[in-house]
Amino acid sequence: MKDMIEIRWHGRGGQGAKTAALLLTDVVFQTGKYVQGFPEYGPERMGAPITAYNRISDREIRVHSNIYEPDYVIVVDSSLLHVADVLAGLKEDGALIINTEDSEEEVRRQLGGYQGRLYMVDAKKISLATLGKYFPNTPMLAAAVKITGVMDEAEFLSAMEESFQHKFAKKPEVIEGNMKALRMTLESIQ
């Protein structure tokens, strides 16, 4: 692993991009690494484009700025491609992870002919199949873990199960669906 992995999340207010960034912070913490997860706050409301960030390192993280040259960019809502410059500063050997139903060709076209590493996750299909509702952040979190390789998949699943049991103590019926969403995403990525 590099000295530090930097991730930038693009989402829309209310979709859970910030929550996904904080969940990633949570699970990566359990590996003993140093981690930072923070949203960029403005006057945003439901539906407005938002940005969140993660830094992951084996060493103490002291820098407190936003991330301008990310190793990974995660786009939780593909409609943002028309609004935000999601590729801004993305490292040449970095990767873009996007939630989309479109073909690779179409996504690359929308990204202005982007030739770099690209991972596509159909979070809608996975979410509807496993949860019956559209919550893109669970599949996108799994995709982030798999593609960045910041932690072991089995370790990730057991940490998430524990976290879901805590979070959904009063709604245990949704735990299985969320776990299925994570597994399905992990399997869908080559």
């Binding site: 912070t25 913490f29 140093y34 993280i61 820098v63």
Partner: protein, 397 residues
């Protein structure tokens, strides 16, 4: 010694307060400090603390109720940010002059206007002359540690002054990071029970708080208050030494980072100090002797100690996350540079205004400052000493 965890700065302070279990918390919500009273109200509702949580109708009232509760003999805390602190204005002076050791956990945010919810230090800097102890944090860990040490300093018999525990809005308050928290019983034992000598609910010894003082008394009253603030330096170091025993973390009045042989130094407050440390490491790798002084206590201002740490540097940049509107620089610049003059230091000194309203501070931003210091030393020309960092300026300006 403690337990490794991860939490935001707000959560860290709220957890320190849960462990301290203060008697009373009057509060009114304001971004970005809202989560702190929110956590505390939840802790109280769930029976984790027996703090009397008072949802008041304004910050003027939260500070008034805090003063009343503290004078009555209750260990009291409140939380606020930005305009909330401004609305407490007159009450801040009353808390200090009445020598009431209450705590205010402040999440720094710019003052209006233009309206802005992001971090700068204009709120607490505006209250710097109110007679409160002010301490600042670089990280969630420091915010937590400062909160636990706060009452021990404020309630000390040689001090008895209110204390403001500050952290950077959003940058630390809403960023989840690694932290090491102490066990509940360790904190409880360290902080101890609050047993004031005199308090309004003591019927054995009636007292009046906040008397009118005519000109024949007022100056002596103020001088006495200033003495209490002066005592903070000694008490804070004693408390820090004891805290090191239980936490393993060492604290001073300020932190010196790679200052031993530094030729160029940045004096800075809050989260940007961490970013500055990364900048210093990069410069040191290139053989440039750079260092950082991170202010922890701004009130009292450790003038002599800071100038001792700066005595061998060639150039200093004092960083203010607050416009002072003196047409001369910001408050940290004014205090630091006048202290340097009194200590007969020969170093070049400039004062930067930076990071206003959440303007991001990058490692590159700080490198730019160090480059400017090198330029000053190599040319012997200081130029404008009142500068802005990261400002969009017209090309021909």
């Amino acid at each position: 010694m403690g337990k490794k965890d991860r939490m935001s700065g707000n959560e860290a302070v709220a957890n320190a307060l849960r462990q301290i279990n203060p008697d009373v918390m009057p509060a009114f919500p304001i971004t970005p400090s809202t989560e702190i009273p929110q956590f505390m109200a939840t802790f109280a509702a769930n029976g984790l603390i027996d703090t009397e949580f008072i949802p008041v109708e304004s910050e003027h009232s939260s500070m008034s109720a805090s003063i009343g509760a503290e004078a009555a003999g209750a260990r009291t805390v409140t939380a606020t940010s930005s305009c909330g602190l401004a609305f407490m204005w007159e009450e801040l002076f009353i808390a200090a002059s009445n020598r009431l050791p209450l705590a205010l956990t402040l999440v720094n945010r710019a003052l209006s206007g233009p309206i802005n919810i992001n971090c700068d230090h204009s709120d607490s800097m505006g209250a710097r002359d109110a007679g409160w102890i002010q301490l600042y944090a670089e990280t969630n860990q420091e915010a937590y540690d400062n909160m636990i040490m706060a009452y021990r300093i404020a309630e000390h018999k040689d001090v008895r002054l209110p204390i403001m525990i500050c952290q950077d809005g959003f940058i630390t308050s809403h960023a989840v990071m690694n932290i090491e928290v102490l066990e509940d019983d360790v904190v409880k034992k360290f902080v101890g029970e609050y047993t004031p000598d005199d308090y309004l609910l003591n019927k054995e010894r009636p007292m009046a708080v906040g008397p009118y003082a005519v000109s024949g008394f007022y100056m002596e009253a103020k001088r006495q208050q200033a003495e209490a603030l002066r005592n903070v330096k000694r008490v804070a170091l004693e408390v820090a030494a004891e805290y090191e025993q239980i936490s393993g973390r060492k604290y001073g009045l300020f932190e010196e980072y790679r200052m031993e042989d530094a030729e160029y130094a940045v004096v800075i407050i809050g989260s940007a100090a961490g970013t500055a440390k990364d900048a210093v490491d990069r410069l040191r790798d290139k053989g440039i002797k750079a260092g950082v002084i991170k202010i922890r206590f701004f009130r009292p201002f450790p003038a002599a100690e800071i100038t001792a740490a700066l005595k061998n540097v060639k150039a200093v940049a004092v960083m203010d996350r607050c416009e002072g509107f003196s047409d001369h620089g910001g408050p940290l610049g004014a205090d630091t540079i006048s202290a340097m003059y009194q200590a007969n230091l020969n170093a070049y000194a400039v004062n930067y205004i930076y990071g206003l309203g959440g303007r991001d501070v990058k490692v590159e931003s700080i490198l730019e400052v160090f480059a400017a210091l090198q330029e000053i030393v190599s040319t012997g020309k200081v130029g404008e000493t009142y500068r802005y960092l990261g400002l969009r300026d017209r090309k021909d300006a």
